[in-house]
């Protein structure tokens, strides 16, 4: 305000009675300044008029025409995947996206010996990123690029089988070249050889197998005997101290097995029966929470007396807390896998295939298994593993023996509609 005189007059008399006191009343000088500002039009637009203008603009912007133009183009017209030009020869690189703590580390905690050995042998630099925390979230992250037919910037990703199946179904991953995968073809464990969602492993190879079993905290159980999933769902002594996984296939698979249904061949009615069975337990207050990876802290703290758990975690938890144990129900356990896939438009396909093949050589496979304790999908690693870690080689959770392999079941693949329906029913059960 550069123009106009200031207004130093005292406040008029008779307007300052106590009842009329207003804390925010501006001084006469300020009031005059405000009026001046309003009158000569130089003041900044008021907040109200701006808000109004903004709202109007938003409405115009989000107007009907713009809305109907939004739609999402259909996926799935690209069966077999879209290769990009393969830059493997010129660029000795490969970008590998993996889950956290899913790779061997050296003593400094930063290097990855098996990856370093791969680079040393082939000269291919591996950009290793641990940017996958959750299948559903990661799918949300890469979906826009893959749906638009763009490069995700990743040559190799590790995804759980149901998501791998979805990406194959949508045509968002590339077919592998068997001539680059001699070790993988020869050493793949029979258990993982031909899943129904990728017969003959045309698009994927398993990174690790994940067994869903029942884990318990001996101290929290306090003498309560647990043998089957029914004990978890029915025993009133465990009320509010049972944990289940938000991973629908693992939890529902175990429920179906417990009901003597086959997760590899169940019908919609079987599934609904399983949901009803679980709903009863939830309504009774038997189930404390449905969790993701964070169940491990609940279990070791004793808030969960028993829960559905992933075997690889249990191997590590057991080492830290002797109260933790696991059991394989007589009805069997669920086996899923995390799988290596090459997304559409990846720039270094051959390099990625060489990296896949490398991890099916017994030595790197054994080093990896010794470090991360999941089910090793590679045959013939026992000797190598025993050389590194005798106990790990004898652990049926890492190298399943005949008995264990016989009890392993996989969840059958679901069509898109089935998947949505099953997930929706299961989500309803978990409270949302």
């Amino acid at each position: 305000m550069t123009t106009g005189p200031t207004d130093p007059r005292p406040p008029p008399k008779g307007t300052t009675r106590m009842e009329q006191y207003e804390p925010d009343r501006p001084s006469p000088t300020r009031a005059a300044a405000v009026r001046r500002g309003l009158r000569d039009g130089r003041a900044a637009p008021s907040r109200r008029s701006l808000l109004r203008a903004g709202a109007g603009g938003a409405l115009a912007f989000g107007g009907l025409g713009a809305l109907s133009a939004c739609g999402i183009p259909p996926a799935g017209h690209t069966q077999g995947g879209v290769p990009a030009e393969d830059h493997s020869e010129k660029e000795k690189r490969v970008a590998f996206s993996n889950w956290t703590e899913y790779m061997d580390v050296d003593d400094s905690g930063r290097g990855h010996p098996t990856l370093d050995a791969f680079t040393g042998r082939t000269g291919i630099e591996v950009t290793y990123t641990e940017d996958i925390n959750d299948n559903t979230e990661f799918f949300g992250k890469i979906k826009p690029q893959l749906a638009a037919g763009q490069d995700t910037g990743r040559d190799l990703v590790v995804l759980t089988d149901w998501l791998a199946a979805r990406l194959i179904r949508l045509g968002w991953v590339q077919k592998l070249d068997p001539s680059h995968l001699p070790h993988a073809y020869a050493n793949l464990s029979p258990q993982f050889r031909s899943p129904d969602w990728d017969p003959g492993r045309a698009y994927s190879y398993p990174w690790q197998g994940i067994a869903a079993v029942i884990a318990y905290n001996r101290k929290a159980l306090d003498g309560v005997e647990v043998r089957t999933l029914s004990d978890l769902l029915d025993n009133p002594e465990l009320k509010g101290r049972v944990g289940l996984l938000t991973e629908m296939r693992d939890t529902m698979g175990l429920v179906l097995l417990d009901m003597e249904k086959d997760p590899e061949r169940f019908t919609a009615d079987d599934y609904d029966a399983g949901i009803a069975r679980l709903q009863k337990a939830v309504d009774k207050g038997q189930v404390r929470r449905f969790t993701g990876n964070d169940y491990t802290s609940d279990l070791s703290r004793g808030d969960f007396a028993a829960c559905v758990a992933w075997a690889g975690d249990i191997v590590q938890l057991k080492a830290d807390n002797p109260d933790i144990g696991f059991l394989i129900p007589d009805s069997g356990y669920m086996m899923s896998s995390d799988n290596l896939l090459i997304p559409n438009k990846a720039r270094h396909k051959t390099n990625a295939e060489r990296l896949i093949d490398y991890y099916f050589e017994p030595r790197p496979a054994a080093e990896l298994a010794a470090h991360i304790n999941f089910v090793c999908p590679v045959d013939g690693v026992r000797d190598e593993l025993a050389r590194i870690d005798e106990d790990a080689a004898d652990d049926p959770l890492i190298l399943p023996d005949k008995d264990m392999q016989a009890k392993s079941r996989a969840f059958r693949s679901l069509s898109a509609e089935e998947e949505t329906a099953c997930e929706a029913k299961f989500a309803k059960l978990t409270g949302a």
């Binding site: 008029p12 996926a75 059960l429």
Partner: protein, 317 residues
């Protein structure tokens, strides 16, 4: 501002037309000046368009689409999604509002005395206490919520003490807790929300309390108002702007929060934020998720409008 209008009009400021003759250079300078505020606003407006208007428009469109991932989504103006979503998930809606309101009231009850203390009684400790209020922000939100799981663990000291004092009998009779545990109950979720958003209540309360001239208290005292009357007739009315903005800053984000319900709750404490997350990421029902987001927005807008109207502080927004 009734008193202002009663004043006689001040000397007229020079209006743009016709300009007073002896200042010829004022006009071009003023024209440039007229554009400046808008130019200064441009970055902010662009930001809003890209990160607020466009996503909102996109979600509005998604909410009336039908289709599947395989066949693509098309806008079919399928407004029934809204009705279906509301009839399927109204319990979670009600629960979210209830939890958020409880947390807001708790925040107010806990935060007001503290803000009062900092503003009027803390003396040289004022800055230290303020730092303590803000300190939790230095640690990650997730870490702090996870810490509560350890604090409230079933075998922990807190639960043990509450159990020994028979507090848990009362709370579980009220349906706030279940058996002799606190975690995975409504109480834990509401406490988590309260803890998370308490600083957002204290800071605006403090700012509006701190502005109150202490001499007003003396004046009230001189006019024979006791401490209670002084608070009721002077302090509280003057701090209303802080109360309103504090409750808004607490209630709005608390309604949409899902981390607390996820980590501290159970199946029967899921809030609307959890439903939206599940529908978006797990069930892949994008239209329902988008419709729920809009219903949540509408619900919050209604609640906030009513709140502002009844507390009579429209000037705030």
């Amino acid at each position: 501002m009734a008193t202002v209008t009663q004043q006689p009009p001040p000397p007229r400021a020079p209006s743009p037309s016709p300009p007073p003759a002896p200042v010829p250079r004022v006009k071009p300078a003023r024209r440039r000046g007229r554009r400046t505020p808008y130019l200064l606003l441009l970055p902010g407006l662009l930001w809003l368009v890209v990160f607020f208007v466009l996503p909102v428009a996109y979600q509005a469109s998604t909410s009336v689409q039908t289709g599947s991932l395989e066949e693509g989504y098309e806008v079919t103006w399928h407004f029934a999604t809204y009705g279906d979503a509301l009839s399927a998930y109204w319990p979670q809606f009600v629960r979210s509002v209830l939890y958020a309101a409880s947390a807001t009231v708790l925040c107010l009850v806990l935060g007001y005395p503290l803000a009062y203390l900092i503003a009027f009684r803390a003396g040289r400790w004022r800055n230290l206490i303020m730092i303590l209020v803000i300190a939790p922000f230095f640690a990650g939100f997730l870490i702090r919520t996870l810490a509560w799981k350890t604090i409230l663990a079933d075998g922990g000291y807190v639960v043990g003490a509450l159990d020994a004092l028979h507090v848990l009998d009362v709370t579980s009779w009220l349906g706030w807790t279940a058996g002799d545990r606190v975690l995975a109950t409504p109480l834990a979720v509401v406490c988590g929300l309260t803890y998370t958003f308490l600083p957002f209540m204290i800071l605006p309360l403090y700012t509006s309390l701190e502005r109150i001239d202490p001499r007003l208290h003396e004046a009230a005292n001189d006019l024979y108002a006791g401490p209670a009357t002084t608070f009721r007739r002077v302090t509280l009315p003057l701090s209303m702007p802080g109360v309103v903005s504090g409750t808004l800053l607490t209630f709005i984000p608390a309604t949409g929060d899902y981390i607390n319900a996820d980590l501290l709750g159970s199946t029967d404490t899921r809030m609307i934020g959890n439903v939206i997350q599940t529908q978006f990421l797990r069930v892949l029902d994008y239209p329902t998720a988008a419709a729920l987001s809009f219903l949540l927005m509408a619900a919050i807008l209604c609640a906030v409008t009513v709140h502002i109207r009844t507390s009579g502080t429209e000037d705030l927004v």
